[in-house]
């Protein structure tokens, strides 16, 4: 790493991303229709991709960045498939 990051900055990052994940999870649990749950799932996976990127910096492993890439690809394909299922059935 180019610089040394203090502990307070790590705590602020992890707390903010965790709060965002909790908010998206609540919307997914109480959304009135199935489409609301799908929207919440899509944004939940996007937030979690950002969380993987921060974890790759925290553990200083390049592999976790590749994990974030694969996670993004799989969440994109899953969102498309579930949207198509809601539209006209599989």
């Amino acid at each position: 790493m180019r610089i040394h990051i203090p502990t307070a900055i790590w705590i602020i990052w992890f707390a903010t991303v965790s709060l965002a994940t909790v908010l998206a999870t609540l919307r997914g649990l109480m959304g009135p229709t199935n489409s609301d749950r799908l929207v919440a799932l899509d944004n939940w996976t996007t937030i979690t991709t950002g969380f993987w990127v921060i974890l790759a910096l925290f553990f200083f492993q390049f592999v976790l960045l590749s994990v974030a890439m694969v996670y993004a690809i799989l969440s994109f394909l899953g969102g498309l498939v579930i949207a198509r299922y809601l539209e006209r059935g599989l």
Partner: protein
């Protein structure tokens, strides 16, 4: 000197990204309607995750190429997924928020064959 500058620039980028991820989740939680929620969530979280990955690529030497590739991939695929979700839920017949003034689809007389019932 340059290393310290780029590193702290990356820290600022990650702060911006994390803040926008939180704003997107707040929009998902607070807004009244599916389409409002979809717009807020997709725009804000796309900016958030792109800024986060660019910041991480600036902090560590040699990660910028992969981080930029991840950012470009997310910029390409997130609007496609959002568009598919919006189209599917409009065709299924999710009710719009009453304050949404012009419903352009209804104005132009687009009829979707399987609309009507709420799933």
């Amino acid at each position: 000197m340059l290393d310290a500058f780029l590193g702290w620039l990356g820290v600022v980028f990650v702060f911006i990204g994390v803040f926008f991820l939180f704003l997107g989740a707040l929009g998902i939680f607070r807004l009244p309607d599916l389409f409002n929620r979809l717009q807020a969530g997709t725009k804000a979280t796309t900016l958030g995750v792109v800024a986060t990955s660019i910041g991480v690529g600036l902090i560590v030497k040699g990660w910028i190429l992969f981080a930029a590739a991840l950012a470009v991939f997310l910029l390409m695929t997130n609007p496609i997924s959002s568009h598919a979700i919006a189209r599917a839920s409009y065709r299924v017949g999710v009710k719009l928020y009453p304050g949404t003034d012009p419903d352009k689809c209804e104005e132009r007389g687009w009829k979707f064959p399987e609309g009507g019932e709420e799933k």
